[in-house]
């Protein structure tokens, strides 16, 4: 398996430059940015809370979809040939108390953002989206109710982290999965693979609206999962442990003039789906450190002086940390653009020519090149 080539923009490494850049987060956007900057000869140091670089490409998405060897080889190449320094198990503090997010328990080192800002010429924050969304219905804190990432993460992490981490024990059990995105699909496949006796997949709309597409649903059904559509989870049942999900089922009528399908009268009724384990795979939210202090909302809207730059001058942000959950491609693109913006900024600053390029103008020009979205995200 060939390496994923994060250094695809250059052949042999260029002569070393005196610049030092820190990248927080070794997921797709962080690694793409590291690849870009190491192709300029910068000394790049990458910090990540997990024991291995790769982010959700390694720890979230199942191995049958992304071969871990390919990501690992790309990281190794970047470290050996281009001198990128990786600091695994290092959390840069902190948007929330430690151990609040999936993967925090791997950290053996916690460093403040302030130290990094002083140490490097510039920083890019690529921390991604790690906090799981919650349904906000009763019983969600019962043992046996877990989020999609919480379920998927240990399956991949078990191989890296030693005896402390175990894949979820679902053998012979009934699992209910809520959601119909790609992570819900991955949870169902993984649960079936791990020997679950029965897997239910619950979705509030129909298979035609499912973000993963009806083809995936067909495949899940063929693999043995039970599909329930147009159901709304009301609460989780159980006393000291979850025993099921109470749902409202309905039958939808024909689409109305606005294209929406409403529930048929009297078709709604409440039932309970029994389950030993419930996984809510309804998406994640971004977890950037110091979102407010850095003015990330303005960066997101493109109301910035310099592309991807935060309120702190030498601090840039890219990937899902900025945009919220997206796809690997978008994260890579965002990382590459932040890296290019950072390098432009450092060059001009060194020549004392920042005033030559009015910031607003630069951002506007960029927006012109990508019509249909101010910063094309």
């Amino acid at each position: 398996m060939n390496a994923m080539n994060f250094n695809f923009l250059c052949g042999d490494p260029p002569p070393a430059s005196a610049r030092s850049v820190g990248i927080i987060g070794a997921g797709p956007s962080g690694l793409a940015a590291a690849g870009y900057l190491s192709c300029l000869g910068y000394l790049v140091e990458v910090y990540d809370k997990l024991p291995k670089a790769g982010g959700l490409m390694l720890f979230g998405i199942p191995g049958h979809r992304i071969p871990k060897e390919r990501v690992e080889a790309g990281v190794r190449r970047m470290a050996r040939k281009y001198g990128v320094v990786f600091h695994p198990r290092t959390k840069i503090c902190c948007s929330a108390p430690l151990h609040d997010e999936e993967g925090d328990h791997f950290c053996s080192d916690v460093r403040g953002l302030g130290d990094l800002v002083k140490k490097h010429d510039a920083i890019i924050i690529c921390t991604g989206s790690w906090r799981s969304r919650r349904l906000g219905i009763p019983g969600e804190n019962l043992p046996g109710v877990m989020a999609g990432l919480e379920f998927l993460f240990p399956i991949r992490a078990a191989g890296y982290a030693g005896p402390g981490i175990k894949a979820p024990d679902v053998a012979g059990k009934t699992v209910a999965v809520i959601g119909a995105g790609h992570s819900a699909v991955d949870v169902v496949h993984s649960a079936l693979f791990l020997g679950a006796a029965k897997v239910h997949l619950l979705y509030r709309r129909t298979r035609h609206e499912a973000p993963c597409g009806s083809y995936e649903i067909d495949r899940l059904e063929a693999a043995g999962a039970a599909w329930h559509e147009s159901v709304t989870p009301l609460r989780f049942t159980g006393e000291d442990r979850v025993t099921g999900v109470e749902i409202r089922e309905k039958t939808l009528g024909e689409p109305g003039p606005d294209g929406k399908r409403c529930a048929l009268p009297d078709s709604e009724h409440v039932t309970v789906i029994e389950a030993d384990l419930v996984v809510t795979a309804i998406g994640e939210t971004a977890t950037p450190p110091f979102a407010k202090e850095l003015g990330l909302e303005n960066v997101r809207k493109g109301e910035v002086r310099w592309l991807h730059m935060t309120d702190i001058e030498n601090l840039f942000v890219a990937g899902d940390a900025l945009t919220g959950p997206s796809k690997i491609g978008k994260a890579v693109y965002s990382g590459l653009r932040a890296a290019r913006s950072l390098a432009n900024w450092l060059d001009l600053k060194d020549q004392d020519r920042l005033a030559d390029y009015p910031y607003d103008d630069l951002v506007a020009r960029e927006a012109d090149r990508f019509p249909g979205g101010r910063l094309h995200r």
Binding site: I66, G213, I328
Partner: protein, 169 residues
Amino acid sequence: MPHKQKVLYIDYSTCIGCETCEYVCRFVHDTPRIHMMRTASGVMAPLYCRHCENPNCAKVCKRGAIVRDKSGAMILQPQLCRGCETRQCLLACPYAAMFETDTGVMLSKCDLCAGRRQIGLSPACAEMCPCGAIHFIAREDIAKIETDKSREAFERVMGHLRPGKGKEE
């Protein structure tokens, strides 16, 4: 034509639709020349140029704006292309790999990263695909890496591109 002409081959059965190819292409070329398609049933597949041995796009172009370069890639020459309204090339491509844009001659097409190949690099999409689904490979070697699954996935994708063809109904 050189003996071993390298082209792109994407194994649709290992592609997960993450769009890395499209966005890396966008970063390198500003306007992407590979495009992730999503069908009504949610099947994701990148549309890309095969640099065919008998290219329909070149055949139908009245201007001769699509020509083969010395390493075998089909290249669009924007100087000759007038971005004509007929959009013959766009319609003629069996793989839907010619893309209408809103800049220049309003057409973009893969040149297998011609500028990158000049300096010894490979097409960027193949380099960065997380799944290893994109191969930059000699045309005659494609058959060696095809699998039953990849052929089945290819047929599924083509069924969406050319509905009715290859089906009995």
